[in-house]
Symmetry: C2
């Protein structure tokens, strides 16, 4: 096998141990004679897989008992519609006149997509934006212009494309739910779930395969769907049927469960956070050493997961990527909307991979 | 490994050769050093997997050039909302006054779920129903009361729970699109795609893993979404981005592609249809031999894929299931809504599996 390190932003690298176990069990899960892919979602075998995954995730993130964990479909883009469809029926306190308003903080490409989609269903208030500065920071919280009686506040706590990560939990007024898109950093750092109304994440970064979408929702927020919300995406339905109102993406849940067990064996989220701090420190140090490379994000908001960078001389981009590929350092090209390079170093990226990239950065810079 | 035959209605049995290949390629697809699960959906490796799957499916079903094939998420229940959200913006010809009407033929549990969901978005006309007779047949087409200028006609051409299958293509008025839920018999028999406006199918029966949903849609029907249609489920968006508007369920597409290649190697859909006719003949003959067992569906509408049956003496049900399980004949319990037994014998069920079930049916009946 070729030894590679895969810096894709998602779908992304998975723990080798997880893939090995999945391969070994592909034709016969635990003596059942069936692949997990072949199991009825209502049979005892799959139910046991689902329950273990749910319980391990609950433990890893210390999810309080009054929150439901939903294993859904539709991805982040789907959720951008599914969230307003589930929350806009909420009676707002204090009761405010006029149509519902959703507050957004616009910190990059993903919060931008979310607010554009939400505008189909309600008025959108951009409470703060760093667009004018090229999405290089989270606007200071004191300057946010929040709406009294907003339906909810939506933030993207790690912008995958722009490499901007929140290092604080936003404050909200009493009764305004905080909704967080944690797609690209969930399970990479400790969080206090109780501060959020809804947390959602596409699986294809730190959880498992694309096609699985995780939603963690406080129980009182299950009751407020609009009548136009499709029943398969109505959180209350999904919660009441333990994510089996619709046939769930069973194989994705199985792989996610293997990832959760693997994380637990490594010491859980606290241990992953320490590793991620160290990996990010190593990589940013190499980028900051001189001006051959640059990362434009404010130091206080730099993502530990997605690290975009530029070569001072962008005419060398192709040469840089070709040399990286020759060394097995894959998928370093930046998102087409921002250009440059990007290294995504999720939980499953070993420190050896980051070190290999750092060595190549130094070599290419002639250090 | 335990030798079993898995009669689950879905997720269901997959070809052993496909699972073997998936296991062998799990850690390193074609020397890339990556699992398919780890590949960016925008990279050349996954694009090649996607394009081959699309092209093989197009060939297998002889999909005309003016139809798009979409690889989506959301399952059959999701599509029950996504279809009206995509079609109800259509200007109806002849222009009819009043709100849009969707015609349905109610032949069992799945068409029932579809019409209930569609009623969120339009008026529903049940053009014909076999509910009063216990869903044992497709109502004769001449008695269908279709609406002039309907937005579309929705049929479920194989009812998974009730075991009722269409043996004809419904007639529609000029300009009324025919929408068919083929979840549980797609790729099991030859079809004339050009007769349909939309064909959809959850993957978890004859295609691949749960979480992938196939939509085959005539191009002129891409233009009629309602403003409230989530952009991730707007067929036009999905078509224009070759199923990558949202990150698609990449691993599911990969497995589906392996299944498509496998079907081609076996001689395509025509060859599968002959095998399926033979398998169904064998099983119905055993059920019909005397009154120890019964299948209540009219002979002309019996499904080749999903075969519900009852024991004359239902007090023997548990004993029957226990004996079946002891012989490796799994998941034969009928759907909870109808009771009894059900054998799903999809493409991937070998004739040896059907023969093993027939042998057990005869043995249990004391023949």
């Amino acid at each position: 096998m070729t030894q590679v390190f895969n810096f894709s932003a998602g779908p992304a690298v998975l723990p080798k141990e997880v893939l090995q176990q999945a391969a070994a069990e592909m034709l016969d899960w635990h003596g059942s004679g069936m692949s997990v892919m072949e199991m009825s979602h209502r049979g005892p075998e799959f139910i046991s897989i689902y329950k273990q995954a749910e319980s391990d995730l609950r433990e890893l993130l210390a999810v309080p008992a009054n929150y439901k964990i939903l294993f859904m479909q539709g991805g982040g883009l789907g959720m951008n519609a599914v969230i307003p469809l589930n929350l806009l029926g909420r009676v707002r306190e204090p009761a405010t006149p006029g149509p519902a308003v959703i507050d957004f903080v616009h910190t990059g490409s993903w919060s931008g997509k979310s607010l554009k989609e939400a505008a189909r269903y309600a008025n959108v208030n951009v409470a703060a934006s760093s667009q004018a500065e090229g999405f290089t920071h989270v606007p200071p919280e004191d300057a946010w212009k929040l709406t009294e009686g907003a339906a909810y506040l939506h933030v993207c706590t790690n912008e995958t494309i722009d490499g901007v990560e929140y290092n604080f939990v936003p404050r909200v007024s009493d009764g305004v739910p905080l909704v967080a898109d944690m797609s690209s950093h969930i399970l990479s750092r400790q969080i206090d779930v109780s501060k959020y109304g809804v947390i959602f994440a596409g699986a294809q970064k730190n959880i498992g395969p694309a096609g699985l979408t995780l939603v963690i929702v406080r129980e009182d927020l299950l009751e407020h769907a609009l009548p136009i919300c499709p029943s398969a995406f109505h959180w209350k339905n999904v919660a009441e049927h333990e994510s089996m109102f619709n046939t769930p993406p069973t194989y994705g849940i199985y792989i996610a469960g293997l990832v959760f067990a693997h994380l637990k064996a490594l010491g859980g989220v606290a241990a992953m956070e320490q590793r991620n701090i160290e990996k990010a420190r190593l990589l940013y140090a190499a980028l900051d050493q001189d001006d051959f490379y640059s990362n434009r994000v404010d130091v206080s908001c730099r993502s530990r997961m997605n690290i975009p960078f530029y070569l001072r001389d962008e005419s060398l981009n192709e040469k840089f990527l070709a040399g990286a590929k020759a060394r097995g350092l894959l998928q370093l090209k930046g998102h087409k909307s921002v250009g440059g390079m990007r290294a995504s170093i999720y939980n499953a990226m070993p420190i050896e991979g980051v070190q290999a990239l750092v060595d190549y950065l130094n070599e290419f810079a002639g250090r």
